[in-house]
């Protein structure tokens, strides 16, 4: 069964550094998403991406965050200047109105 692949599985970064989380969605999917889960909390929506632009974003997704599909296969989430409170699991998902597949996640630890 096709999978959404996320790399790295765990990333440690220093506060203030830029970090890029990478995802390879399922090849024939058209919609792409990032979600976040702070430790002990619910999984929450960050942003959706369709046709090379953001279609919707949550209040969490401020100017520190950006997304890109640089080469037609990867889908990235960039955090420009990480804060301690950005420490969380980040999940990528892809789909097309018929079910969505989530990646296993990247654990981001900001120290």
């Amino acid at each position: 069964e096709p999978e959404v692949t996320q790399t790295p599985s765990h990333q440690v970064t220093q506060m203030g550094q830029e970090v890029i989380l990478r995802c390879v969605p399922i090849s024939n999917h058209l919609y792409f998403y990032w979600y976040r889960q702070i430790l002990g909390q619910k999984v929450e929506f960050l942003v959706s991406f369709y046709n090379n632009e953001i279609s919707e974003k949550s209040e969490i997704f401020d100017d520190q965050f950006s997304v890109e599909r640089p080469d037609g296969s990867n889908f990235t989430l960039k955090i420009r200047s990480t804060k301690l409170e950005d420490s969380a699991m980040y999940f990528c998902a892809s789909g097309y109105r018929g079910g969505y597949t989530f990646g296993s996640g990247t654990r981001l630890t900001v120290v």
Partner: protein
């Protein structure tokens, strides 16, 4: 927004036992999915089940969309079933923007 409630919040099972997890939601949905989050935090896709019943090995799920609930059944539980089980719904007006429940923490003891 749509409310998603999962019950019970915690469940302790002895290996080999069966269990039922429930997900109630407050409004009509396009889609409902179940996930298992293992102790390392990884999310595992279990079922895409907007309605009806599906089975995958020892796991099965049923969604009754008209009554706004879904059930996840775990049969003959194993220690590897431990983790958090999440239900997530896609509201009727928000394609792909899932609202997750708080999860059911399952611990399976040998």
């Amino acid at each position: 927004g749509i409310q998603v409630e999962q019950s019970p919040p915690d469940l302790i099972l002895q290996e080999g036992a069966n269990s039922t997890l429930r997900c109630n939601f407050s409004d009509s949905v396009n889609n409902l999915q179940w996930f298992h989050q293992n102790p390392w935090g990884q999310l595992i896709n279990l079922f895409y089940i907007p309605s009806g019943t599906k089975q995958n090995g020892r796991l099965s799920a049923t969604t009754v969309a008209t009554e706004r609930y879904s059930l996840l059944y775990i049969s003959s539980s194993q220690t590897t079933d431990s983790g958090v089980y999440f239900c997530a719904v896609e509201p009727g007006d928000s394609w792909g923007k899932f609202q997750f429940g708080a999860g059911t923490q399952v611990v399976v003891t040998p």
